[in-house]
Amino acid sequence: MAGVRAAAGAAQTQAGVTMTNVEAVRTTLHDALARDDRVLIMGEDVGARGNVFLITKGFLEEFGPQRIIDTPLAEASIVGVAIGMAMEGLRPIAEIQFADFIYPAFNQIVGEAAKVRYRSNGDYTCPLVIRTPYGGGVRGALSHSVSIEALFYHVPGLTILAPSTPADIKGLLNAAIESPDPVLFLEHKKTYRSVKGEVPAGYYTIPIGKADVKKAGSDVTVVSFGYNLHQALDAANRLEGEDVSVEVIDLRSIRPMDKTTILDSVRKTRKLLIVHEDNKFGGIGAEISAMVAEEALFDLDAPIRRLAGPDVPAMGYALPLEEEFMISTEEMAGAMRDLAKF
């Protein structure tokens, strides 16, 4: 099972084409399988069914059952087996069908994968990617809507990526597969087909741990990711008409977090709004707030503001309940406006 990085370039992504987020995931995975025969995919319905979002459709036929592995409904086993493969030199990409189902694998991810390098004093690493669709707003109700980043971002040894655009998905998924350490790769399912963008041709990676200023501005800084990021961009563009200049930062990498980009922006605008879909209490907004308060208190000209999901156990199925849970673009625009004139 020799590394076949040399094969890179043989399989090209469509050159500089516009595609959806889900197509970006699919083509990046496809190219990785074609480029490197250490790469394999395992998970529920990834083979014959071609994944519930059709991400791996046709992969089983093209790459065979040894590299496209349908598993039982046993998340702990999916991740546990993948950890063993990764430690022994393969590049497994484990799929958790919905982030809501990741809990059985918690011990494998937190207790095992994240600690392999430390426990073995560097003799072993765990080059494992765990992909999972997360997030609500798609009438997914109780068990197909959850955001999980806050459950894992406390864990040293784990990388958490949550890109929001097709180009970032390709660059960061490639970086995740290259990474010698475990990566939890989060894909917001509401952006799968609603978000389109141009994707550069050829193989590239985006550095892990770098946020991206998606829109420059001077009055308010907004930090967000996922579906919320696109709403924040909409709201910020709308406010241009009201002469409010909003800088929108796409976090992209939740752990490690890009402090520099956030602090530079806050020092410029002096006002910070954090938006995330997961509930507010103990969410990643808490960490960002604390970090900014520690390092840039004397640059702040307004209280740090967080817009986040409510403290309820799950997203309701009924549309009004789902809408109540999700943060609206209007709410974001309102919060930006309030901060700007504060």
């Binding site: 002096r270 640059d299 000209d301 307004a302 209280p303 503001r305 817009l307 403290d311 709410e331 504060f342």
Partner: protein, 475 residues
């Protein structure tokens, strides 16, 4: 209603204060937080802000008079400026009500509205939705009367809340918050307002005193601002810091006190003088080895001073007579070792005191001295920082001096200087010639307390301790 103003306690150990100057006269109106009297204790001058808005009725204490803390010094008729004070100086209860009713309070009215709006749009959602409600974005302006200690939480004059950025920028640009019109919600002063005021130049509110933003750190009663020389003066008036030939610089209170104390000391204590030279090569190497990590870890520059002070306090322990005061009833040998550090700040000599310096490590001395020096440079030394010194250290070498004859701080028996470190060819004990870093240490002493033998013993002990310090030591 009349408010009696008492002499504030400017520092925990201070028991009395002198009215240096009345900034207001009877009949003058005074705003809440506006400085109305300058009080001096020792070398600290503090402008005392008025606790109420009103009209000065009576000044009880004359300028130059010293009274105990808590003694009445003035009476202010506590009325709104748009209401004439009653000729008798007292107003009936109904007048007070009328005055209160007429007192404009636009900010509190808006805050109430904003508060109501916020609550209206932020109804708790069934199911315990408390997550999406933001913080209050109104600036609930505390009314002056309702909140006596609002200043402690960063309230500018007028009761408007200011953000950390605004306070920092105002301090950096020396903008008086009271002179800035806020453009934010409820008239809040924004960071951009400060920058605009700073750009507009001195006419747009450069602080006449930094007392206003000082409220961030201390309650009004304990406000201790820098001596007057630290504050900018109107252009044209000669100051100590911008002396030109031909100027007659008016004596500030601080300068008067410095002059008085120097004369007192020279006239009272018979100064004797002695000097030794110290090989500081090794301690200098030690400092060089530690300084980068020290500065990185603590933010404080590691100079020779803490090493020097450490050696001084150790020598003082060996020669307690050096840590003493002469008085008619005898020579008081002090229990505490409090080291004064002579520094120049804004054109004034100030001597903040490192309390219990004998209980501090070199690292502890460096940090405590760093804080005092920083406070001094920023004009933020309080009375407590300056009181209680028992022996003084003066780093005259910082300015290149290799020899100096310092004047004693009144009441202290000794003062030592650390002069500039110079490399010299030195003949050592074994007759070898070596290049060594040499430093002179000079000492003035009160000959009433100390005789030559004690002084020489102390200096040679100090020399031995400094020369024994080296890179193997521990900070």
């Amino acid at each position: 209603m009349a408010t009696t103003i008492t002499m504030p306690q400017l520092g925990e150990t201070v028991t009395e204060g002198t009215v240096a100057q009345w900034l207001k006269q009877p009949g003058d109106s005074v705003e809440k937080y506006e400085a109305f009297v300058e009080v001096s204790t020792d070398k600290v001058n503090a402008e005392v802000p008025s606790p109420v808005s009103g009209v000065i009725r009576e000044l009880i204490v004359k300028e130059g008079e010293t009274v105990p803390t808590g003694a009445p010094i003035a009476i202010i008729d506590d009325v709104a400026s748009d209401v004439q004070p009653a000729p008798t100086g007292s107003s009936s209860p109904s007048e007070q009500v009328a005055a209160a009713a007429q007192r404009p309070s636009p900010s509190s009215g808006q805050a109430t509205n904003a508060e109501a709006n916020r609550q209206g749009s932020d109804e708790p959602v069934p199911g315990g939705n408390v997550g999406t409600g933001g913080p209050s974005f109104s600036a609930p302006a505390q009314s002056n009367g309702a909140s006596g200690n609002g200043s402690a939480s960063g309230t500018a004059p007028g009761g408007v809340r200011t953000s950390p950025a605004v306070r920092r920028l105002a301090r950096e640009h020396r903008v008086d918050l009271a002179a800035v019109r806020g453009s934010g919600d409820n008239g809040r002063i924004t960071a951009n307002d400060i920058l605009a005021a700073a750009q507009a130049g001195p006419s747009a509110g450069v602080a006449a005193t930094i007392g206003a933003d000082n409220a961030e750190y201390v309650a009004p009663a304990a406000t201790a601002v820098a001596p007057p020389a630290a504050t900018p003066r109107p252009p044209g008036k000669p100051t100590y810091a911008s002396a030109r030939p031909g100027d007659v610089i008016p004596l500030t209170q601080a300068r008067r006190i410095i002059a008085q104390r120097m004369v007192d000391s020279k006239h009272t204590a018979p100064h004797a003088w002695t000097m030794t030279e110290v090989d500081v090569t090794n301690v200098w190497k030690w400092r060089a080895r530690e300084k980068d990590a020290f500065e990185k870890n603590t933010g404080v520059k590691l100079t020779l001073l803490p090493f020097f002070v450490r050696a001084v306090v150790e020598s003082l322990a060996a020669f307690p007579l050096m840590n003493a005061s002469f008085a008619e009833d005898g020579i008081h040998v002090h229990r505490e070792v409090n080291i004064g550090l002579a520094i120049a700040a804004d054109g004034n000599l100030v001597v903040p005191v490192l309390r219990h310096a004998d209980q501090l490590s070199i690292r502890g001395i460096a940090l405590a001295a760093g804080e005092l020096i920083d406070k001094g440079r920023r004009g933020r030394l309080g009375a407590d920082d300056l009181a209680g010194g028992t022996f003084t250290v003066n780093n005259t070498g910082a300015n290149g001096s290799i020899l100096s004859a310092p004047i004693l701080v009144p009441g202290q028996a000794g003062i030592v200087t650390s002069e500039a470190i110079v490399k010299r060819a030195v003949v050592r004990d074994d007759d070898a010639i070596a290049v060594r870093s040499m430093m002179n240490v000079c000492m003035s002493l009160d000959h009433r307390v100390i005789d030559g033998a004690v002084a020489s013993g102390f200096l040679s002990d100090l020399k031995k301790r400094l020369e024994a310090m080296g890179p193997s030591g521990s900070l």
